[in-house]
Amino acid sequence: MKKYYLNYLDELESEAIYVLREVWAQFENPVILFSGGKDSILVTHLAKKAFYPSKIPFSLLHVDTGHNFPETIAFRDDLVEKLGVKLLVGSVQESIDEGRVQEEKGKNATRNALQITTLLDAIEDNKIDCAIGGGRRDEEKARAKERFFSHRDDFGQWDPKNQRPELWNLLNGKYFEGEHFRAFPISNWTEMDVWNYIKRENIQIPSLYFAHQREVVWRNNSWIPVSDFLKLEENEEVFSKKIRFRTLGDITITGGIESDADTLEKIAEEVSTMRKTERGDRSDDKRSETAMEDRKKQGYF
């Protein structure tokens, strides 16, 4: 007899497609926040499915810190061309040049927090009323509190203690002038689910996720790639290691792990035996216990 129930990946897929279609139906000008990382690639893939045979009806918005892996940018441009969607870029460098934000100083300086201003400016300038993100509740404790439809006030701020209750599948995307929403279609996916799905659907992802030889330094308990943006400390030594990245952020703060996993099968296998959270290699989250919560309240992804 045929069985009439879904396996967990199909159920997650169906839920995400439902959310994406609600976004399209309820908002005037939604975009996908696209970082070039696996989660935003996954969201884009799901959007393709949700609207087939129509094209993806959303533009992609990339908040560009200027501190990119070159591979990410090449991948982004290639994908945009393949899908025939519009790419919007918010530039952190421009925000700095215009004096909207100040570059951080010191050894652990990053442009991570600066993205908030650029992102909120891009949302305002492009009259975006919903920004779709690849955030997942399993990533981090502040993200565990997120709704599928998450309200932002007219300063772009998130008030986690005063969120709209979200019941059944009924999503309330109503807002007043100047406010906007963030939507998180893959809220209920875990890192393992993402990899199992990418493997199943054979989704193209940047080469950085696969094991490769790279020049790195040991900093903050992970292998940070050597790049034009990295200031080497006196006692720091450059190694050549076979590594891969579990998450992709700025090249200055994204730590790699030593790995031989060079296929999707091997990556999924490796992730299933991982004993550390994926954001454990992200120095942006290591700054304090509430680093993510604090940034999210201000308007971060």
């Binding site: 839920e15 139906a25 129509s54 094209k55 502040a142 009924l170 004993r275 550390k276 959270t277």
Partner: protein, 418 residues
Amino acid sequence: MEISNNQLLRFTTAGSVDDGKSTLIGRLLYDSKSIFEDQLESVTATSSKKGHEGVDLALFTDGLKDEREQGITIDVAYRYFTTPKRKFIIADTPGHIQYTRNMVTGASTANAAVILIDARNGVIEQTKRHSFIASLLNIPHLVVCVNKMDLVDYSEEVFNKITSQFEEFSSKLLMKDVRFIPISALEGDNVVNKSENMSWYAGGTLLNVLETLHISSDINKIDARFPVQTVLRPQSEEFRDYRGYAGRIASGIYRKGDEVAVLPSGFTSKIKSINTGEIEVEEAFAPMSVALTLEDDIDISRGDMIVKKNNQPEPSQEFDVMLCWLNNDAAKPRAKYVIQHTSNEERAMIKSVVYKVDINSYEREEGDDSLKMNDIARVKIRTTRRLMIDSYRDNRNTGSIILIDEGTNETVAAGMIV
């Protein structure tokens, strides 16, 4: 590795800090090896900073800054873990402040509710509240954990007394499937690993029960309901005449060739094709997201519902709803609200309050028309246009509504159609 056929089970946990709810969740995550090393390190460090011996399992469920400082849960937090048998989503809801609002939210999508009872105290008011909400929200499975068995010498007598207490008061509720498990979340008895201290208990551990609950029948597969979310019109050469109706099947099964009716217009047609993404399929069932095309050109838009010709919901403009008020601002008499029902949106008015329910005693109170935060009441609702409704007992997706205050845009109430 083959794509697994593992299912997804969503459950909600109810209880307060004192019941050991956080400890239970921590124990489930820890013993099922879902805790990562860096999380363990951080919790171990915090435990010793707070002067606890060993690892305080409750800290695994810590969330926002205020919650950590006050040792409470503010609203629903979601946790995830996977075993070789299933993927689990826990909606972790607080037992104290705004308990009704949060528990209703967490319960709305749950297949199962885990209710905790402190073995030393037995059934208390909170147990009754939680059970009432689980029953009101029609959660298909209820798992009652009698916790802290270690503090009552793992006594079978205590356990039996509590289960009969529970059965006595819950006879007034509608419950399909109730299980009882004696556990100690702190010591790990019968959570993931079978207890060696309670040989008198022959049933499964909590995890074992959660892994084997029969959930395939939780979704209604009889009454086919397809609320249209949006219409796909590609405008490309290849798909010039394509008109696809995109939506998530709320219940039932659809097959190519099925005779369907489109509501509210009532026009009929046949299903021409069913797609999930690029793949065309012969049949699809709830809760799949699909795109349907029909044989005939009919004017269909968001909010319409495609159903089987011979099995239709009831179009109604006036109906009774069990309403849970979720907002700090009380309901305004005869005020108008936006009502969301499936993908449809109309305006609605609460015509009258039939009765309110005291969720501790289950008594009905008539003559009180006010609706405040956490109140549950049976009300009469009138909408500007007809909605295609089913009763919530028959269909959780087409029997549920929310009300939105147009002045604040907040979701102020959740309702289950009687």
